[in-house]
Symmetry: C2
Subunit: 208 residues, 2 copies
């Protein structure tokens, strides 16, 4: 059994490392996020995540008994972390209009494309994975709330005059998603989408 014919003959018999459940679980969740961002949510399998971390597939199954839930949780982690970044981008700004512009600008940042890919995949896989669909709805609600709050502040400050902040927030969110999904497939030929987009949004908000 020593130095058996494994794909890596020179590799040691894998020195078994024993960690605390909390630490190991966190490692597994992080590895899943890496896999999802690099190869898509569909690439999250017991064996793929195990290989990413260099452990046995059974260990991943031990901490994530149901792969469907594992996929949903991984999406939720990625989406929440991404949203936290966007929120941080507007944290220091006190002017409502500036905050909205910061949110929109970072939302359409090309560095967020891997996250958009995960979103698009989650929309599709959500048809088969109820836990994932629920996570998607939850995260969409959080985004809508984020936008709604900024719009509401803008209205209070007299910058906007939208009669229905909640509805407009959904509208803006839909635009963000659509433009990002489009950029995923075609980022060429559409230069500087942000300017037109910002204009359209502020018109929706009844900017003064």
């Amino acid at each position: 059994m020593s130095t058996k014919n494994s794909p890596e003959p020179s590799a040691r018999p894998a020195p078994r490392v024993r960690k605390s459940p909390a630490e190991r679980h966190a490692e597994i969740q992080d590895a899943a996020a890496v896999v999802a961002l690099e190869e898509g949510l569909a690439a999250i399998t017991l064996r793929r995540v195990a290989r990413q971390l260099g452990v046995a597939s059974g260990l991943v199954a031990h901490y994530e008994p149901r792969v469907e839930d594992f996929v949903a949780a991984t999406f939720a982690r990625i989406a929440a972390a991404d949203r936290a970044e966007v929120e941080q981008a507007m944290a220091g700004l006190d002017d409502a209009a500036l905050r909205l512009r910061a949110v929109l600008a970072s939302s359409l940042d090309s560095e967020r494309l891997p996250v958009t890919a995960v979103w698009v995949e989650a929309w599709g896989l959500g048809r088969r994975n109820e836990a994932l669909a629920a996570a998607v709805r939850e995260e969409m609600d959080a985004w809508q709330e984020l936008l709604r709050n900024v719009i509401r502040d803008g209205i209070r400050a007299g910058v906007y005059s939208a009669p229905d902040p909640a509805a407009v927030a959904w509208q803006v969110l839909g635009m963000i998603d659509g433009l990002n999904a489009q950029a995923l497939v075609r980022w060429e030929g559409v230069p500087d989408r942000r300017e037109h987009f910002l204009s359209a949004v502020e018109h929706l908000l009844g900017a003064t």
Copy 2:
């Protein structure tokens, strides 16, 4: 072997029917479209399509040797047929503004939701299926051309004043996709998206 323990004991040994290649191929393509619209592009497998049509899986493989291409072709058929319907909705109208409104209205019709589901899935699966990705890009180009022509006509007629019809067409297409994808997950709580949307689009176009 007669009346073996198949899932349907009362079913005959399946009376073999022999059809012309063209007719059979068309049947298979239609069956795939039905499966895709009902259960998603991911449900297109040799066995699933064969079952839909009541034939052997080998027959489907005979006419569609590569499933990846089969999926791409099915998407292309669905998307093209859907776009043809939208085009027909504006065929009789000669006024550019009316035609744009007709396009947008039918684009956001809730009856198109199954098609939107196919689109979203195609975006996600396109990462793994190059033929599908190519079909998606091709279809997006066709949509953009459709919108661009309407906008161009509007500009010629003096209704719009957008400086860059092509860019605005991409923008509008992104909005359509985003709102439809959103409606796929959340069609509740967002009443009457069309009114705000139309207003935003016409502002983008510099409507007079």
